[in-house]
Symmetry: C2
Subunit: 293 residues, 2 copies
Amino acid sequence: MAPQPKYLSGDQSAIDEFINKFDVSIYSLALLKPKTLLTFSSGKKIVFVTNNSTKSRADYQKKLSSMGIPSEIDEIFASAYSSAIYISRIMKLPAPKNKVYVIGEAGIETELRSEGVEFVGGTDPAFRRDMTPEDYTKIADGSMLDENVGIVLAGLDFHINYLKLSIGYQYLARGAKFLATNTDSTLPSNHTFFPGAGSISIPLINMTGERPIALGKPSQAMMDSIEGKFQFDRKTACMIGDRLDTDIRFGLEGKLGGTLAVLTGVSKKEEWEVEGANVVPAYYVDKLSDLKG
Amino acid sequence: MAPQPKYLSGDQSAIDEFINKFDVSIYSLALLKPKTLLTFSSGKKIVFVTNNSTKSRADYQKKLSSMGIPSEIDEIFASAYSSAIYISRIMKLPAPKNKVYVIGEAGIETELRSEGVEFVGGTDPAFRRDMTPEDYTKIADGSMLDENVGIVLAGLDFHINYLKLSIGYQYLARGAKFLATNTDSTLPSNHTFFPGAGSISIPLINMTGERPIALGKPSQAMMDSIEGKFQFDRKTACMIGDRLDTDIRFGLEGKLGGTLAVLTGVSKKEEWEVEGANVVPAYYVDKLSDLKG
């Protein structure tokens, strides 16, 4: 069995040692509730990360603020932002064939706009409707498409429909690059699950046989953008989250100094207590408030 | 390399031999165009099969009739019909927990009704709308669900949306059985592709990790229902179609006497001319009209 994580809840000397070890705390936003006290990180650098692409960083800052958690917009890394950065600063497709066809909500649009990236689709009401018989013809012959689209970016879209998928497929079939804000299969909400961004893009994967480049956790594109902003020593940073396959994997693949799993979310300790488990955190606690410095 | 198929186009003695060998012709409906002459099958038993679940058998009979191809409703096997038969005669879930939640179009509803199967969802306008904030609560706590749903049946749905997927997931998470009319990833139309039934159900597969029982080609549930109706000797039957992964596989797995690939559709002969090809027809022609008896 893989080396098992250290359990911190109730072990004050282990908690103190843990706190002294790290200067940078990268929190999964989903962990945070109103009045969560980030005592472990008091006086240290804090970064917030989320794979939810439906909101912009400004929206998240407001949300954190309403929960009584102070933050700067630069400290927030959301998958919509990572995607915009990746498109504008890494891919840098030559104009004019560098427009983005967006399957997703307003958060993506805000971040693309702030990076000066042109896009179509997204929340445009023209795409929120049923297919008509003429649509089949116009999608097939290209007359309904924007010839300058070079990228399809799929995120969580609460208004997904047959028209958007048909157009997305058509762009991909004509050679557009395929990106996804993230590939989480589910969106946890109300103590159950709803379709996540990964379940919005998967029809296109199924149709094309092609997998998108994903820009959210655990993609290192997001880690690179955090490091690009703050120039920190990865060995002094700890990733804190509740999902093994995104949060903890993100920290492990980013070779951070530590990873801390908090058992108030989707993942359970049984997942790393099995033979062959390949995503094992360095530490775990039952709940975030167990970490009192 | 696997034994290669016999090429019939232009080889009249091979065509005659082929014609004499089979008494039952099972045609993929997608092959047929207006005024297609089924000369090869003249005087023999003909069966029509299709994975498209959006129409009922009665709809297909009308369509064949409008193309000048005579047929009986009993000779038409569509995946909506196979699904209804499978639910009513094979699964036979005990009442009252035997309702079906339908993701799909009217064809499925017609066939379920004709088998006396109760259902919710489908074309009901109540499911063709955006999510509201209350929907998340009501789906999660079950108050929006029908407690008697025991089956989720997903087919091609031109009105797929986030609400339908969220409800479908919730039924599956609560133990409903998972069926699909078929799992074709694409729907060929206008010389390109649109999302097929398999790209409608795949978000639910992605969320649950569970694969549905598929009732269309190449599922042998459909072959069993054909045999159940006509009691024929499989060795005397030939499957004729243009898709290797559905049509030809259907005939091979059904151990029919023959399979004939027609190269006017999606599949190309290069697909069986490679090392390791595992779906190889017994015969092929360039086009159906090459088969003049």
